[in-house]
Amino acid sequence: MKLASEFSVPAPAEKVFSLFFDPDTMRGCIPGCEELVREDEKNYRGRLVNEIAHVRFSAGFSAAIQSISDEESGKEVTALLKGEDRRLGSSIKIDARLAVRPDADESSVIAYEMDMALWGKLGRLGEPIIRRRSREVELEFAKSLAAACGVPVEPAQPARAGAPAGPAASAAAPAAASPPVPKAVVAAALVAVLALLAAVLRRGR
């Protein structure tokens, strides 16, 4: 299934990126992220655990950066994420594209598109739960990130969740003041995707 959305974070891009670079902050923002290890420049692995309502999920995952585009008009990264919960007999694979662009008033916008495959017992539950949960967790993540930036403001309405993925949202965005280091973008992508992953696997009864 395809998921696409964007949300704004009320802090300048540089500040957001520096937070992305801080693993402690990220762990605080991603529900259920117990472990996050950078294996090399392009590969990460970790573990997500969620015990919510009546489904308990514990998944090892890996993330591999596929490409990084560091253009004036915006930053974009693509990553491939894979996770597996053996006990639940479920696997997930996400092709993710993520763009970060500075926005007006010292804030920045994170836009993502995901092509997500969910296989096994969880996959059988179908799409509605996943769509619903992804939006929820996205909101939660955006809130946490805003709080981490010291600006406890409601994030922009991510009303496009569930819309078909369109062209990269960053195309028309103004150039960033200072280009972030690639690793920071990588972390941002990872975070967003993980939030999605967590979203998928949370399920109320």
Partner: protein, 275 residues
């Protein structure tokens, strides 16, 4: 499967819920068994209410109906007194699944499950029912309009169980329950609505068209039937937030919600005129 506990009193049931690891109330058992079979249910202990006395009681008085949580959905459909005092609720309970499931499914489980597609909550919202929740910490009453918090999330705490539902007597007026499926005729609803026109107000409960059952109301004074339909469609608009799935996309579900509400409002209006 999780371990099954079979308390014989409400107090024992509450105690089990407060002490066991990851407990879950086992009511009628229809929804739970399905989750068990899907292999994704996360619960270590079931607290079976079948042996707790008094939970199958229905008492009817002038002010309304008090229903135990283990009363079957089928009884709400067929009990003559229930049908007389809260006809809208009875009509909605009659539409749940099929008669065999209604024979087993319980009134308490039906709402505790928190499924946004279920029919009875639409009527309970309109009638202003109250959910009684019991735990070792005591008993509290939760207005049904505050009960459905989010997608399969209710206002119940993990150690609470539904120990009763109070449905106020339906006021004089007219009511309709309508639902539409989008695939097989006996499929889950794609949109449902309970409508009550009484005391100068229109009250609407919506099912399947948002992550939770939704409630809206507006003043009916001075409206004719078309005016009521227009007002109803305007009133429900902000409440519609459908989840797309195999039964339909967002646009179709919104459309079907409007048609369902329009049909229910027109039907109720007609009943009012005919009365």
């Amino acid at each position: 499967m999780p371990r099954l506990h079979r308390p014989t009193s409400l107090a024992e049931a509450a105690r089990l819920l407060s002490t066991l690891d990851n407990p879950m109330v086992y009511g009628g058992g229809t929804a739970i068994q399905i989750l068990v079979k899907q292999g994704i249910l996360f619960a270590d202990n079931f607290v079976d209410l079948a042996g707790v006395p008094g939970l199958r009681d229905v008492s009817v008085d002038a002010g309304g109906v008090t229903v135990g949580p283990m009363v079957t959905v089928r009884r709400m459909e067929t009990d003559p007194e229930v049908r007389q005092v809260v006809p809208l609720a009875s009509a909605a309970y009659r539409q749940v699944a099929n008669p065999r499931v209604r024979n087993t499914a319980s009134v308490g489980g039906n709402i505790a499950h928190g499924d946004y597609r279920l029919d009875p909550p639409t009527a309970l919202l309109v009638l202003g029912a109250t959910v009684r929740a019991t735990s070792v910490r005591g008993t509290r009453d939760i207005p049904i309009r505050e009960f459905f918090v989010d997608f399969q999330v209710t206002a119940l705490e993990p150690d609470e169980l539904v120990s009763g539902i109070r449905i106020p007597a339906q006021p004089a007026g007219a009511s309709r329950f309508e639902k539409n499926s989008s695939l097989g005729e006996n499929d889950w609803p794609c949109a449902s609505a309970s409508v009550l026109v009484a005391a100068g107000r229109v009250q609407i409960g919506l099912g399947a068209v948002a992550p939770t059952p939704r409630y809206v109301t507006f003043d009916a004074a001075g409206l004719d039937d078309q005016g009521a339909v227009d007002a109803a469609l305007a009133a429900i608009e902000p409440a519609l937030d459908p989840i797309p799935d195999v039964r339909g996309g967002v646009a179709y579900k919104r459309r079907l919600a409007r048609v369902t509400v329009e049909d229910a409002v027109r039907g109720a209006w007609k009943d009012l005129q005919d009365a």
